[in-house]
Amino acid sequence: MSFLSDENGADLRQLFFESAQELLHSLNEEGLRLEKNTGDAETIRSLRRSVHTLKGDSAACGYHELSELAHAVEDVLSPEVAHTENPRLAELVLAAADIFTLMLAAYRNNAPLPSGEPLRALIRKATPTQQAGCAGSSAPNEAAVFRWTEYEQMLLADGANRGTVLQVQIEIDETCSTPKAAYELVRKALAETGEILVVHPEEKSTAPLICIEAAIATEEKVSDVVRKCKIPAIVSNVRVLPWAAGSSEARPALGSNSGQRISADPKPKTGAAPAASAEGTLRVDAERIDAVLNLVGELIIGKSMLHQTLAEFDQRHSKDPLRGRFADAMAFQARVLSNLQKSVMKIRMVPVEQLFRRFPRMVRDLAKACGREVRLETSGENTELDKSILDVLAEPLTHLIRNAIDHGIEAASDRDAAEKPRHGTLRLNAFHQGNQVVIEVSDDGRGIDRNKVIASAIERKVISAQQAAHLSDAEALELVFHPGLSTAQEITSISGRGVGMDVVKTVVERLKGAVQIESRVGQGTTFFLKVPLTLAIIKALLFRVAEKVYAVPLGSVLEITRIEGPEIHRVDQHEVMQLRDEVLTLVRLEKLHGNNGSLKPKRLFVIVIHVGGRKFGLIVDKLVGEEELVIKALSDQLIATDLVSGASILGDGSVVLILNLTAVVSRLGAIDAFLAGTPPVVRDKGVVA
C-alpha cells in the first residue's frame, strides 16, 4: 500500500511537472545571465536555489536520477566555485537545464531516461580535481591509497617490530568466476610471504570481491611479494607500498561521503530582494477557472434569454409600469455580469512574458548553431493574453524565430558586405489592438524576395503564371504559407527554408487569428500574429443566410452596406462590387449550403470584413444584430468543414455557427479554383449545445 492515495500521488506529480517547468525556465534565464556576468554571486545563489528545489521536489516524487543529477549540479554551484569565475559554469547550467528538460519529458511519458553522463562529465570538468578512490580504479601506475582503521594502524605499528610492514593491494581479475577460491589462494600466497597483520575484506564478507587489501610483516623484498601474489588468471594487478609509522594517520574523516565537499561558510546576506510579485499569489488549477468561465458563459446565455423575454413582454404589455423596473434590474444585472465576465477573463490572462521568456535561450542556441550573431530584443512583455492562447502560440513563434535566424539574418560577413551591423537583431513585440493581441516577430535580415516566392510557387504549380501576374505584394508573400511551398525545399539542421510556415498559419487560424507578413528585400521581415484576447467569449455580428443564423467576430467587421442585385459584377471568376473607390470581392454564403448562388434581384446586405489584410464583402440575407457569444467547443466529428470555427447558443436556444473567415474567403471567394478543397458542406444537424 502506498502511503498517499494514488490520486494524491498523481496530483503531486502533476504539480511537480508544473513547478519543475518553471524552475527550468528560471534556470535557463539565470544561466544566460551568468553567461553575461561570469561569477555573479547573486545569480549563482539563485541558480543554486532553483536546482535545490528541483532536487528536493524530484526526490519527493521518487525521480531519483533527476534528483541525483540536480544534487551534483547544486554542489558545483557552491560559493567557492563562484569565486573562480569559471566561464564553464554558465555552459554547465544550460546543459543541465537541457538534460533536466529531457528527463522530465521522459518521466512524464514513461520513456527511457536520457543519460546524465554528458552532464556529469561537464560537472567533473568544472569542479576542482577529485581524489581517486582505491578499489576499482584501474590506472596501473597510480599510487595505491590505503585506509587502515586506527586499530589496524596499531596492528601495523606492532607488526613493524617483527619485520618490514608492506601494504599490499591485490586486484582480482574481473573474469575470475570463483571468488571464494581466489580469496583463499591470495590469502595463502600472502601468508607465505610473511605474517598477515590485516586483510580486507574479511573472510565472511559477502560483497563482490574486487580488490583485496592486506598488510603483512615480512622479511622479503617488495618484488618477491609482488611475484608471489600475482597468481595468473586470478590476480590482475598487485601494488605494494611499504608502511611507515604515521604515514597514513590523521586522515580527515571523509569516510563514506567522499564525493561531497564541504562549505561551512555563512550565507552572504541577500541584498535587494527581487520584486515581491510572488506574494499573495495563488496557484489554481486551470480547470477550475474554466469551470467558472463556463458558468459565466451560461449566465450570459441566460441574460440574452431574459432580454428576449423582456422584449416580448414589452410588446404585449407596453403600458405596464413593471416594465421599467424590469429593464432597470436587467441593466444592473447586465453590468455586474459584464464585470464578472471581465474579472474571470482577467484570471486567465497571463503576460506575454511567460511566452517570451522561453526564447532568449533558444535564440542563443540557434544563433550558435547557425553561426550567426543575433541580438534578441523583446518589448510589450506585459501585454496580457489568455493562457490557452499563449500556450498554443509557442509553436508558431518557435517556427518563425527559427526561420528568422536560419534564413532571415545573414552571416556576419554578408552583413558587413551589406553595411549592416554585424549582429542581426531579432525583435519580439506584443501589443493590444482592439480586442486582439498582435505579436510581432521581426528581423533585420535579408527579407523575402517576392519574385523568388512567385517563381517557386509557379514551379510547384501552386499558382499559374497567369494568376501570378495578378498577385499583389501581400498576396505574393502570403504564398509562403502555402503547404506546397513551405515543405519540400532545401533543409538545414535548423529549419528547412520556410518549413512549417503552413503550420504557423494553421495554428494561428485555429485560434481565430491571422498572420501577416511585411518584408523588404535587404531590410528584413516582420510577421504579425494577430490573435483574439480570449477564446471563450467573442463579440460577434449575427446574420441570417438561407434561414440559418451565422456569426462573424465583430473585430473583423469594417462596415455594413446594402447593394442592389445589378450592382454585382463579374471579374474573372469572382463577383465584385464597387464600394466607393474600391473594388470589393464578394463572397456568397449560400454556397455554404451547396446552393450555388443564383443572383436574386433584390436588395442585399453586404458585410465588409477584413481578412489577412484584404477586404471582402459577405452577402447575407438579413442582419440579426450584435451579441456576445460564448463559444462552445465543437468536436471534430460534428463539423465536416473548417469553415466553421465554433458554435454558440442564443437566448432562444437556437444554435449559431461562427464562421472561420479565413477559410470562408479562401474557399468561397478569391482564388478559389486553386485553394478550394472538397465542396464545403455544413451538416446542419451536427451542432449541439
Binding site: 500500500m1 502506498s2 502511503f3 498517499l4 494514488d6 494524491n8 500521488g9 498523481a10 496530483d11 503531486l12 506529480r13 504539480l15 511537480f16 508544473e18 513547478s19 539563485s46 543554486r48 536555489r49 535545490h52 528545489t53 532536487k55 528536493g56 521536489d57 526526490a59 519527493a60 516524487c61 521518487g62 544534487h71 547544486e74 554542489d75 557552491s78 587502515w148 582503521t149 586506527e150 586499530y151 589496524e152 596499531m154 596492528l155 606492532d158 574523516a253 569516510g255 563514506s256 561521503n257 561531497q260 565537499r261 564541504i262 562549505s263 561551512a264 555563512p266 550565507k267 541577500t270 530582494a273 527581487p274 515581491a276 510572488a278 506574494e279 496557484r283
Partner: protein
C-alpha cells in the same frame, strides 16, 4: 488532545507545500492552518493564523530560512521544525538552525506515491516531533549556545597523546540533543580522561557534519566514528546515522565496531545497543548517560550497565528539551543519578578522574 495542533508549513517549493500538509493531514491531532512560500510571508501568516508549530525549509528566496528562524525566535518563540535537505550544505545549515533555537529537524520527504517506507518514516518522525514540539518550552539555552563556538575558541592541543581512557561514557540522546551535547562537550577539557561514545538519533548524512561542528566548538576531540576507531581519553565518537555502534576490547586497545544490524526500538543507531555493549565489555568502568529525547531508547539497557556495576545517569526534567528517554530510565529504576545538564560536565569529570577509576577497579 481535544484541540488539534495548528501547524504552519513554510517552504518555497510548491510541491512541498502540498506534500507536507498531505502527510500531516493523515494525523487527526494535527491541523495544517496554512502554508507560506517564503520567510516574509511566513511571518505575516504567523500573525494571522497563530500556528503552534512551524515547519521550515532553510533554502528560500527573499528572506531565507535562517533569517526567518531568527525572526520567529525573536518575536514569537514558536517551536520550529526544520525540514532539511540531505546534503552536506543542508546538514551544515541545519545545525546552525538548531543552534539558533530550532526545535528539531526532519529530512525532506522522498518517494511520495511509490511504495515507500521512507515517506512513512519521515511522516511518523515529523508527526511525533510536532506533537512533542507543541509542548516544549521555548528554549532559553539556545541563544547563549549559539554564541559559544565563536566567543570561546577551544584551545586544542597541537598533538594529542594517545592515551587509554579511564572510563567509557556512553551517551544516548535524541530530540534536543544537538544543543545539549554542544553545551556538555564544550565544557570538557582537552585532557578529559574518559572516552565518550554518543548515540544521537539522527539521519544518515547528518552525523558527519554534526561531529565536525562539535569538534570545532569543543576543546575535546569529536569525530564521527568509524569501525576500528580507538577509544581514547579526551575523544568523543559520534555514531553515524543508520549504523549501530558497539565496543570491543582488543589485544592492542579498545575499539568501536559499527554494524548494520536491524533497528532496535525503531532506531539505528540505538542507545540500547551501545549501552548493552559498553556494560558487557567495561562493567564498572562504564558510564551510561541518557539525555533529552523522545521515546525510551536506552532506558532498558541502562539496567544492564547498572547490573554490570557501571554508573547510570539520567538528565533531569528541567534541563531536558524532551523528558522522554531520561524519564523512561528513571521510571524503570535504572538511573542511579539524575543530573541537570549544567552539572553534567562536572559530574563526568569527577567520575573519570584516574584515582577514582582505579578505586573502582579494586
Amino acid at each position: 488532545m481535544s484541540e488539534r495542533i495548528r501547524v504552519l508549513v513554510v517552504d518555497d517549493s510548491a510541491l512541498m507545500r502540498k506534500l507536507i500538509p498531505q502527510i500531516l493531514e493523515r494525523e487527526p491531532a494535527i491541523q495544517v492552518v496554512g502554508t507560506a512560500m517564503d520567510g516574509a510571508f511566513a511571518l505575516k501568516k504567523i500573525e494571522e493564523l497563530r500556528p503552534q508549530v512551524i515547519t521550515l525549509d532553510l533554502e528560500m528566496p527573499r528572506m531565507d530560512g535562517m533569517e526567518t528562524l531568527r525572526q520567529i525566535m525573536r518575536h514569537y518563540r514558536l517551536p520550529v521544525i526544520i525540514v532539511s535537505a540531505l546534503s552536506t550544505r543542508g546538514a551544515s545549515a541545519t545545525f546552525k538552525a538548531l543552534a539558533l533555537g530550532a526545535f528539531d529537524f526532519v529530512t525532506k520527504p522522498q518517494d511520495a506515491g511509490a511504495n515507500s517506507s521512507n515517506l512513512q518514516e519521515i511522516a511518523a518522525d515529523l508527526v511525533s516531533k510536532i506533537k512533542v514540539a507543541v509542548h516544549s518550552r521555548p528554549s532559553t539555552l539556545a541563544p547563549d549556545l549559539a554564541k559559544q563556538p565563536t566567543t570561546r575558541a577551544p584551545s586544542k592541543p597541537a598533538a594529542r597523546v594517545k592515551q587509554a581512557a579511564t572510563k567509557v561514557i556512553a551517551i544516548g540522546v535524541s530530540t534536543g540533543g544537538p544543543n545539549a551535547l554542544q553545551y556538555l562537550l564544550a565544557q570538557l577539557p582537552a585532557d578529559f580522561p574518559g572516552a565518550i561514545l554518543v548515540v544521537q538519533h539522527m539521519p544518515e548524512g547528518f552525523t558527519e557534519m554534526f561531529a565536525r561542528r562539535l569538534d570545532e566548538g569543543c576543546a575535546i576531540e569529536v569525530k564521527e566514528a568509524q569501525s576500528g576507531d580507538l577509544l581514547l581519553a579526551g575523544r568523543v565518537l559520534i555514531c553515524p546515522g543508520n549504523r549501530h555502534i558497539k565496543v570491543r576490547r582488543m589485544p592492542l586497545g579498545d575499539i568501536v565496531v559499527l554494524t548494520d544490524d536491524p533497528k532496535v526500538n525503531g532506531h539505528r543507531p540505538s542507545a540500547d545497543v551501545l549501552f548493552r555493549s559498553v556494560g558487557h565489555e567495561f562493567g564498572s568502568n562504564a558510564i551510561a548517560v541518557l539525555m533529552t529525547g523522545m521515546g525510551d531508547d536506552g532506558a532498558e539497557a541502562m539496567g544492564a550497565v547498572k547490573i554490570a556495576g557501571g554508573l547510570t545517569i539520567a538528565q533531569d526534567e528541567s534541563s531536558s528539551a524532551v523528558y522522554g528517554m531520561p524519564k523512561a530510565a528513571i521510571e524503570r529504576g535504572h538511573a542511579t543519578r539524575v543530573v541537570a545538564l549544567e552539572a553534567l560536565a562536572n559530574t563526568l569529570q569527577a567520575q573519570c578522574l584516574p584515582e577514582r577509576a582505579r578505586a573502582a577497579k579494586l
